[in-house]
């Protein structure tokens, strides 16, 4: 596991951030994909925006956007009357061989 995956397993969603230009570097990398500066790790906000969603049986899956830059696929629990663009909250993340992100509609 790399640092990103270890932190996910600790229920902590972190991303690399450039120490030179402060850009969030997604996906996590050792160098900034804008200026090749060195990176450090920082926590990503818990709030996200719903970009798109569908479902498989009772499981709703989606693309969620964090901090206007990081888009990931995750599941939505307690989903009803979802609207594109609505706020979501990251309630849990994990790593069990695959990255897992569990979200729910923000209150």
């Amino acid at each position: 596991m790399n640092i990103f995956q270890q932190e996910l397993k600790n229920n902590n969603f972190v991303c690399s951030s450039c120490q030179k230009c402060n850009k969030l570097v997604w996906p996590p990398s050792d160098f900034c994909n804008s200026c090749f500066g060195s990176v450090t790790w920082r926590q990503v906000t818990k709030t996200a925006k719903l970009v798109e969603f569908s479902s498989r049986g009772n499981e709703v899956f989606c693309i969620a956007e964090f901090e206007s830059s990081i888009r990931i696929m995750g599941s939505i629990q307690n989903a009803s009357n979802l609207k594109i663009g609505q706020p979501l909250t990251l309630v849990k993340c994990d790593f069990d061989g695959k990255e897992k992100f569990i979200l729910e509609p923000a209150v």
Partner: protein, 369 residues
């Protein structure tokens, strides 16, 4: 740059019959040597193998097994558009003058390691391609009112076309109802909306205009090439009702050929999932945005084979590294007037669209007789 054409081609049946990757490749090379007068192994300067298999030194192995000692031999891997990437590389060797004749061989096995891009952390636990295609389908349905029945028309059309393709994976017609009632995989995707991984191989022989007449009286010229990679990760697709890499690569390909979409007589589109064809018809300029579904319905209702005459990936199967080459062979045969029951009458200009990994990269080729 020198003019480059396709001189000959070879295919295997796409199937789940077990066979080694080398055997598949050789089986598609054999018809090129069997059917091309004046071609000997000594003519071939470049051998490129397109596959996602982890086999090492494959182009050199295939060269040795074919009795070829080329100047250049290497593999080309780019997931699902490995095949057309191989063709573009071979084109470049010839156009630049580094080579005169190139053999491009694509093949894949049904359990290819290229079926899922494990690197893409942005997909989370949803690594299987059905999830990205569901996101495109949901977005297109929401914005343009596309329905599940619209999407079923793509599969019904392409399965019907595949019945005239002796190399196709599927040997059976599927009706709109069959597709509508096939196993639901997600809210916006059914089993028969998906192309099937399978075993298969396809080969083409490319040559410069100075030498190609030695091999054929009917060369088909590659007159336009566009390629674009926007990212590797699926979620960098900002707009889910469109495929940005497809739009950009088609602009370059049309520009290089001096052609417009309305001048294309026949086209092979990368329908990894049925909804992809609807979006690609719009992105390639065959119809305005939002009208891809009605364009497909009209093709189906009029039995028009202009789009995916060999049955697309949906009807033909999808052996990843072979797919782009098989698509190119279809257009090659169409422009030569040799496509038999699949023939689009009078086709002079054709287009190949081949893409990878949720359309994070695309290749568009324009071919002319």
């Amino acid at each position: 740059m020198r003019k480059v054409g396709i001189a000959a081609s070879g295919l295997t049946e796409f199937s789940k019959n077990d066979s080694s990757l080398e055997s598949l490749m050789l089986s598609s090379i054999k018809p090129i040597f069997d059917d091309t007068e004046n071609l000997s192994q000594n003519d071939i300067d470049v051998v490129l193998t397109s596959t996602n298999a982890n086999d090492k030194y494959l182009a050199n192995i295939i060269s040795e097994l074919s009795g070829i000692s080329p100047r250049v031999a290497h593999s080309v891997e780019s997931l699902c558009n490995s095949g057309t990437n191989g063709i573009v590389s071979a084109y470049s060797y010839i156009a630049s003058g580094l080579a005169d004749v190139a053999l491009v061989v694509g093949a894949e096995k049904k359990d290819s390691p290229g079926l899922v891009l494990e690197w893409d952390q942005s997909r989370g636990q949803y690594t299987h391609p059905i999830y990205w295609s569901s996101m495109f389908a949901s977005a297109h349905m929401r914005k343009y009112g596309t329905t599940l029945e619209d999407i079923a028309y793509v599969g019904a059309k392409n399965h019907r076309n595949a019945m005239s393709n002796p190399y196709a994976y599927f040997k059976k017609m599927f009706s709109i109802d069959d597709i509508m009632e096939s196993k639901p995989l997600t809210e916006t995707l059914r089993l028969l909306d998906c192309s099937m991984p399978c075993n298969g191989a396809a080969s083409v022989l490319l040559a410069s205009d100075e030498i190609i007449k030695k091999f054929t009286d009917m060369p088909i010229w590659i007159t336009g090439i566009g390629q674009k990679s926007i990212s590797a990760g699926f979620t960098k697709n900002d707009e889910l009702t469109s495929m940005t890499s497809t739009v950009k690569s088609s602009v370059d390909a049309y520009g290089m050929a001096g052609k417009k979409a309305n001048e294309v007589d026949v086209a092979e589109l990368h329908d990894a999932f049925s909804v992809c064809e609807i979006i690609e018809l719009e992105d390639l300029g065959f119809t305005p945005k939002g009208l891809g579904s009605s364009y497909v319905r009209n093709l189906y209702d009029t039995n028009d084979k202009k789009i995916n005459p060999r049955g697309g990936l949906i009807g033909s199967g999808h052996p990843l590294g072979a797919t782009g080459i098989a698509q190119t062979i279809e257009i090659f045969q169409q422009l030569q007037g040799n496509a038999k029951k699949r023939q689009v009458d009078g086709a002079k200009t054709g287009l190949v669209h081949n893409m990878s990994a949720a359309s994070t990269s695309s290749t568009v080729l324009i071919l002319e007789s």
